[in-house]
Symmetry: C2
Subunit: 382 residues, 2 copies
Amino acid sequence: MTAAIRYEHIKTCQQSGARLGRIHTPRGTIDTPVFMPVGTLATVKMMSPEELKEMDAQIILSNTYHLWLRPGEDLVEEAGGLHSFMNWDRPILTDSGGFQVFSLSDLRDIDEEGVRFRNHISGERLFLSPEKAVHIQQSLGADIIMAFDECPPYPASHAYMSDSVARTSRWAERCLEAQEQGTPSQQALFGIVQGGEYEDLRRQSIDDLISLDFPGYAIGGLSVGEPKSVMNTVLEQTTPLLPSGKPRYLMGVGSADSLIDGAIRGVDMFDCVLPTRIGRNGTCMTSEGRKVIRNAEFARDFRPIDEDCSCYVCRNYSRAYIRHLIKAKETFGFRLTSYHNLHFLIDLMRKVRLAIKQDRLLDFREEFFEQYGFNRPDAKNF
Amino acid sequence: MTAAIRYEHIKTCQQSGARLGRIHTPRGTIDTPVFMPVGTLATVKMMSPEELKEMDAQIILSNTYHLWLRPGEDLVEEAGGLHSFMNWDRPILTDSGGFQVFSLSDLRDIDEEGVRFRNHISGERLFLSPEKAVHIQQSLGADIIMAFDECPPYPASHAYMSDSVARTSRWAERCLEAQEQGTPSQQALFGIVQGGEYEDLRRQSIDDLISLDFPGYAIGGLSVGEPKSVMNTVLEQTTPLLPSGKPRYLMGVGSADSLIDGAIRGVDMFDCVLPTRIGRNGTCMTSEGRKVIRNAEFARDFRPIDEDCSCYVCRNYSRAYIRHLIKAKETFGFRLTSYHNLHFLIDLMRKVRLAIKQDRLLDFREEFFEQYGFNRPDAKNF
């Protein structure tokens, strides 16, 4: 069975080396580099599918682990799959549950077969394996699914990481076999490169996965607490080794600087809960950096969140109104901040694609970083 | 100064006596009888203005008391008024704060001048009077504003109610004077009929208010705990005494049966938080009665909330999906139930208007009550 997705390379930015491309899927074409909003429980928090389309979300992500626990993949399958269940007809990517098993569960026991752990809601004992993760994802019916991997903590010793990478490679092979034995489908299964900050292990991981010939490759084990410089170094050591004809997906990354820096290092796809999570705390991303809209300084500020933004929120609502809603704990306020932040990152990627086209992504990076405040001596690790 | 609103009577239902009409306002025409969604804090909870328009909300209500406390009427005025602040260009009605002063505040002290009470959020001591209530409403800039009244508890003695009605009438006159002394505007100030369940006092209240010649009249002091039969009796004693050329507004009523029964008794306008409040508890209004969508029976029910409904929610989402969202405490679930319930009541009033046009509102009532379950022996006081 051949996967139904295909990566089309359009051009490489002569200034930065970033890739402009398209991923063709059975549910439409995705312009890359792309940011994917996260819909953990079959909903991008606060947003309707129509709003996501209005802000030009091309693909969204959903979570195997969470949907397995509730409502259960069998129920989603009975509903006609995730697209039908949640009223989203564009592409969906589901992660494998690997990251959640390791980040949400205190009690876990890893062996060659898989992982035993406790349900983070009910405490019930559960078991997840490569076969089980693929089976669940087949029931959910996303367009792109992920291999089940171990996401080791940061930092981890070279010895631990070496064993972990070898197991993740064996698990990747089992995922492919499970997919082939399952109901034939048009799902594309991506392998996940691990290896932490160890160049030799990243190389090993890539060699293992390439030999299995996945239709796409994710880079996992980053954005887990390491400094940004480590992330960039790992990307520089990793992406040149990946096949140029397949998409590359950097998992769990959504800060503006990392999206740009990732694109410069040849990444095509990103996802993160950051824009909706900080939106629900009353924080907005703007062209001038983050603004904590709930702060008193915005009480009588009748300008839009971002004067350079043309999104639905910035066209219709003021900082003062949104602050009022947030102070009064009115949900609509969090809808507006979530909408704006998602639009901000989706629009940022549009600008990144344009800059690649114009061979000026490094210039764009410099301008954006300067205006956003990343170049200030007191710049936080946004 | 003449108020800019005008009631146009189209026809009376020959079967029921209900009125079909239109209220012409500077911000558009309202078909009556009408249900007005409540946007307490300058937002109809969970809903965007676009969604309210999509479900054909013709006018919304907002709350003087709440907006006075936060963000403050001066801030709203500085924003260009409530319409501009909340991005709603159709008519708005603001209540006077009378009801909230009496329902939210434990500590209150009424005298001829006004009411001293404590802010229900901060505990701060505050004072509200007829003049202050009108002044706040002028700053907010709604199209229809309400006189400041006392809303006595149910039950109240005849002696208490008699004094209260007399004071509410004196306050009504002071509201008119305050309006005339304020900045000239196109706001229509409605008087509020009180008198509890005492026919003589309702009559007295109406006589007092009619002598002041308001552009519209509200019926207050109902839906405060009395049986439905009392409400219907009071309406039968009240509406025939009100001028036929002015709109009549029954305050705080939003259950399906009371909307129909109110229209039959000559009411033109209704408002209530009921549809959004029960929506946030996972309960939906349907043509077959209320459904508690969070219940286990709907876990694998892939039908829409209401198979007879054509709203956005029922066209796109299943009971199973909405139940999943609600169980997972996902806001989008409450958006969907709130949307459906508001649409249900707005659409009910459309059907009521059609039935009036066809001189068959009593037949419609019987059919609706039968299907909704109001005629069942175990029917709750929905």
